[in-house]
Amino acid sequence: MTELLVATKKGLFVLEGDPGEPFDLTSRAFAGEPVEYALRDPRSGRLIASVTSAFHGPKIWCADDPSGEWEQAGGVALPEGGDAALQRIWVIVAGEADGALYAGGDPGVLFESHDGGATWELNRALWDHPSRTDWQPGGGGLCLHSIVPWPGEPDRLAVAISAAGVWLTDDGAKTWRRGNVGLRGRYLPEEDQADSNTLCVHSLQRAPLRPERIFMQFHGGVYRSDDAGETWTDIGSGLPSDFGFPIAVDPTDPDSAFVIPLNADMDRVTSEGRVRVYETRDAGASWSARGEGLPAQDAYLTVLRQAFCRTGEGSPVELYFGATSGDVFGSGDAGGSWFEVAGCLPPVHSVTAIR
């Protein structure tokens, strides 16, 4: 049985089922509230969700049972009395150390928890970075949206900020350095395309079996790094469009990555009215469409950066994605074929899965 946590503009939906059939809706939490992201920590089984109340601001909540009582986590705020306020928590990721979790948000902030998500602390090294005043926000805000731990090395982490690029740490987030060599912002004048303060990364995923390899969906470009995020090579050739938001990997194959191309930054819908996931199994040298079972006509969907995921570490990998149309699709065979998991949900912000 696979459990999907589908975070939407109007609440968190919990779906359960097996690949090939529509899933059952088993629970809804935070009715009416924008839920940005939710995950079940595989170590504790605890649910952790970020919710941005239009009235009361962004919070993180924890629960054992999605239908039960949710407890507000402490410490999810910027320093009082400053000139910035927390806008949104975009992503929550389990770390490598016991009880460690990370949360990324707007304005370009990283929070750390060492107690399974009950309390959080702002990472001051990134918050106080002297270049921060030059960071430029993307269209969705100055969002820290991607956090990729390094398997077995809890002090190493890569994060990405739109549009302040990639940041790397090797010392437990005490110091940070940029990892942007090779990235090009084609949306800028030629002489400014490598400016580190305007590099609009859309998402990062690390290859678990080869952790020095990271795949990236960029704002125009798909990239691969083979040196832990220090330098990047464009691998978008062969895609119908290299614009998109999410990226996923097959954890059993370090040469694999999956993207969902959208037409362009000025037309953020699936191209040619067809929904297709593109797969590489040779580290980006070639790409193949994987669309069997997906809408193939008059389908103009938008899939946001957190709305594409895989289950666990096993094989064959299951893939799931949701669209702002409220449709959710899944594959039980690594994208070979697809089925409708659910339709008619509110606009999907994120999808996470656990089996």
Binding site: F55, H56, Q72, A77, P79, G81, G82, A85, L86
Partner: protein
């Protein structure tokens, strides 16, 4: 002291009571004091900068107020969510 009146979900976070007496000479002072009286409310009305959250409305004695609205001891402040779309 002014009276702060709240509805759910703020009422639950404020010990289940609707009316609370709080010191302060402006609306934002009173609301800051109210959050400090009830730590579970921290950040629910004011943001980290000490500003009233964008979609929270305050009414002083039934009239729409703002952060700097003067408050007298006999005044009542209602905290209400704004009418929002989407």
């Amino acid at each position: 002291m002014a009276t702060v009146r709240v509805r759910e979900p703020l009422r639950k976070l404020a010990g289940g009571q609707s009316d609370h007496t709080v010191d302060g000479t402006t609306a934002v002072e009173v609301l800051g004091g109210f959050e400090r009286m009830h730590p579970a409310l921290s950040g629910w009305i004011l943001d980290e900068r000490g500003h009233l959250r964008r979609h929270i409305n305050v009414f002083v004695n039934g009239e729409r107020g703002a952060e700097g609205t003067a408050v007298e001891p006999a005044d009542r402040i209602d905290i209400l969510p704004a009418i929002s779309g989407g």
